[in-house]
Symmetry: C2
Subunit: 303 residues, 2 copies
């Protein structure tokens, strides 16, 4: 097994993704684990990392680890203080050094970005944006980054000008798994028409969303609503509520969506229903490209 030249890491609240990289920035090996920040104390990060890569590290030399995500939060491995909008996605010059005891490791964590008004924060998405900009250097438009907390970011001249976070994904998770609606929904399954209809309904009548949500339960009780339809409708109501509120972000803009394939496709369909064509990019791919871009910029500065 080849030892990696360096390691790219996306360490979020609930997941850890590691890419062992060669000196030409090709992926030797990918590791996905569920030891997210949320399950670790500060002194648990290095052992967790070594558990996955310890036997791959070259002896007698230092392997750089470049990390993004919640590992850089106050409750994480080492706090990487936020960059402030407007700003380009942070570089390694702004990264925080994480304390390590193994001499083969040198870990740096890229900061997130904060915005003062309206108050907002991101950690991890800035690296996806960095990856997008590496592939589309002249991009001037809006990036939509759906997930637990969906971000809309206005990008211009290589900078994050401003952004706004919607709690849509977390609302979906809570409502589908822990509310009274859980009895009416399937874990899988989908219905495009029900989704599109719910998006339109929430966009035109956002105040009624909390009632339209309960209608899902009532239709399930009274009329045996199909659980897959129910799931698509729940998603559509929440994404429609968001799209109504995010209208200034996408109306007349060049929009690209960076997300996991399923949720990104749902946002694309919803925007398409509003006459907005949006490009798609995979969030994991963009994260890796962003980490590579950070590594390259550092190499170029050193050269």
């Amino acid at each position: 097994m080849t030892s990696p030249d360096w390691i790219a890491a996306d360490w979020g609240t609930s997941h850890l993704r590691l890419w062992l990289m060669d000196e030409s920035d090709r992926v030797l090996h990918r590791i996905a684990a569920d030891c997210g920040m949320g399950s670790l104390a500060r002194d648990g990060f290095e052992p967790a990392l070594l558990r996955h890569v310890g036997d791959r590290l070259a002896p007698g030399r230092v392997t750089p680890v470049i990390c993004c995500g919640m590992a850089g939060s106050r409750q994480g491995w080492a706090e990487a203080p936020y960059a402030r909008t407007p700003c380009p996605p942070p570089s390694l010059a702004q990264a925080a050094a994480a304390p390590t005891t193994d001499p083969r490791l040198e870990v740096r964590i890229l900061p997130g970005i904060a915005q003062e008004r309206p108050a907002d924060v991101m950690r991890g998405e800035e690296t996806q944006i960095k990856g997008w900009l590496a592939a589309h250097p002249g991009f001037d438009g809006v990036l939509c980054l759906p997930g637990t907390h969906c971000k809309w970011a206005h990008i211009s001249a290589g900078e994050v000008v401003s952004f706004r976070t919607f709690m849509t994904g977390e609302l979906f998770a809570l409502l589908s798994r822990q509310s009274v609606l859980r009895h009416s929904l399937s874990d899988e399954g989908w219905d495009d028409d029900a989704f599109a209809q719910a998006v339109a309904q929430a966009m035109s009548n956002p105040g009624s969303v909390a009632a339209d949500l309960f209608t899902i339960r009532a239709q399930s009780l009274l009329a045996g609503l199909d659980p897959a339809v129910a799931r698509a409708r729940l998603s559509g109501l929440l994404i429609g509520l968001e799209l109504g509120g995010a209208r200034p972000w996408w109306l007349g803009q060049d929009v690209a969506i960076i997300g996991a394939p399923k949720i990104a496709a749902a946002y694309q369909a919803a925007l398409s229903g509003q006459g907005v064509p949006a490009r798609l990019a995979d969030s994991e791919d963009m994260t890796l490209r962003g980490l590579i871009a950070a590594r390259r910029a550092q190499r170029e500065n050193a050269a």
Copy 2:
């Protein structure tokens, strides 16, 4: 200890309230327990009831128990099929007999009310409405019944003409206890101004609520937002979203709010901010009055 002439019971998803009544419908004794329907199998209801009242039942005669709430649902003690709007709050003639083995018990469960379009259901609130109508027989207006699932009911000529349920209370519980916002909120504490401002904000810009929710978290991280202010703002955003959607229910209507004192006062304050004066009534009090009204109507029919 006097044996009760009859027993009034409010058996919800998470709570059980029992009132031991004398023959003049005065309360001899009140019992509150947390053995709600959600924690009981079908054959667990009678033992749970006997645990609380078994030693108070008069030997050698049958004590009627009049029950409302989720105990009458399909997953409850005995299904009491819904009455359908428009209809008066159901009477004992429509009640379901619950199976019992103790010869001293005769349990009947009042049905809830269902509505076909838009699909909606209530179980328990219909008895509060019955209590309200017993005290205000000519009432023509709208009842707002906040709680886990807030109901707005249009009442005319002694009937529930139509109603609509908003999941506001459940959203508040999920977001305050289980979302990322839980780190930013206090369990207690309040701020009237923050509440009023959040109500106005959500009413004027409902689509942004999912973003305004995340702003609470960001302000907490970046500016040390007071956790009591955060709590009031979360409540205000969700109630404001509801009030915007429920506008046709309260605009120009005679509105009364039936709820637990704190949440009822919050709705009253929010409506007052819209120039709508609303009377208040306590939900537990209305439930008891409703159960008494059901008992009296039966006595009068028997006489």
